[in-house]
Subunit: 233 residues, 2 copies
């Protein structure tokens, strides 16, 4: 019988924000797999580091930093092949995923390659989105309010269109798009109350009004533009 592939969400960074299930699966893993961006230390692995058993085999998928389909897909092809060999041998593989596996996670590329041939269980995790809201003291949505989640990589006109409504807008993947985003938020008249959060729940966490955000933002940063105040508040 083949092994099971677990896609395990690790939460936003603080190891205590891992779920009990994630913690249990990692602690018992014989094989873990995780992505590493362009040879850098894997953020996913660093969250789980204290739990990975000493003798566990580690499958590292070195994902190049690129917006082109290839060669990232070649890296996932290779990772999926290595993982499938382990699964065929009857051994489970625990794939470590920052945040939640299906919320801007690269696990979906493994899921697409392997879920028809093997049993796959996705273990959801705390997203960076709600972690940022928690540390900023800013509720995302109440009762009849909506939330629009927008990658900061979009063109300025697309950002403007999402900001035109009155609902909460969460801008993900800020990084080098900060100036463009700030201009769009300001033009929409929504800078007041907007919050910039960097590395939420980690020791280096920063929470600032958007107007005071640094000129250089890391990839792991986010902007929350609050929606209309809930009339119940």
């Amino acid at each position: 019988m083949s092994g099971t592939l677990y896609g395990v969400g690790l939460g936003p960074g603080d190891p205590e924000l891992m779920t009990v299930r994630a913690s249990r699966l990692i602690s018992a893993a014989r094989v873990v797999a995780y992505p590493s961006l362009a040879g850098a230390e894997s953020f996913a692995r660093s969250i789980a580091a204290a739990l990975i058993p000493g003798g566990a085999r580690e499958i590292v998928m070195d994902i190049p930093m690129t917006t082109a389909r290839e060669p990232a897909q070649t890296a996932y092809d290779r990772g999926a092949e290595e993982i499938s060999t382990v699964l065929e041998g009857g051994v489970d593989v625990v794939c470590l995923c920052e945040g939640d596996p299906f919320f801007y996670g690269s696990f979906m590329y493994l899921f697409a390659r392997l879920s028809e041939r093997f049993a796959v269980e996705v273990v959801p995790g705390v997203t960076s989105m709600t972690a940022c809201a928690a540390v900023a003291g800013l509720p995302l949505a109440a009762r009849t309010g909506g939330v629009s989640i927008v990658p900061g990589t979009l063109a300025r006109e697309s950002l403007a269109a999402r900001l035109a409504g009155g609902e909460t807008v969460v801008l993900m993947k800020v990084g080098r798009h900060l100036e463009k985003i700030r201009a769009a938020v300001s033009e929409a008249g929504r800078e007041a109350g907007a919050v910039y959060v960097e590395r939420a729940t980690l020791a280096e966490e920063r929470v600032l009004p958007l107007a005071e955000a640094p000129e250089e933002a890391p990839y792991f940063s986010m902007i929350i533009v609050p929606g209309a105040r809930d009339p119940w508040l």
Copy 2:
């Protein structure tokens, strides 16, 4: 010195999807607080039940089922008052919140009443949204895709407007709005691929194509309308 109020996300329902931090805080609690809807058993309490220490004091906020501002706010006023008396006595209070405290959670009403007078820590949790995506095997967002989160309570025209774009739409709080939502999704030509999920991660969980959803949906149900397929897949 006053106690700290912890707003603790419990995740979607399976107690194993609680965070390690939530589990630790509840296990050590001297006082827990939680909402109960219209006198029914509290869902939040049921998720945490096995961890609540035997001698802990329990503050129950009985929230009436209503769309009117009062008398729900009176119930939060009373709960906040009872909690503040405990905090003033130097004892911490652990408030149990389904899902994530700031993602459609009622904790924000306690936060608004108490965060200026007391230390409050919000512990984020796994949202029902990513839990539903996990059990449905449906990634919510990849790379440059957006997600629109929409309460099913909105009017049909508002639903139609959110469904007009090509991105992933998550319809929360389906319940008695199912037929209206189904009509709006169908009219937008997006029924294919849309998934209905009921009580995700609980024993009674159901995952169905939207077209096969039951006529009566419980409050804890959700519909995911997937966005355009990621070109990397």
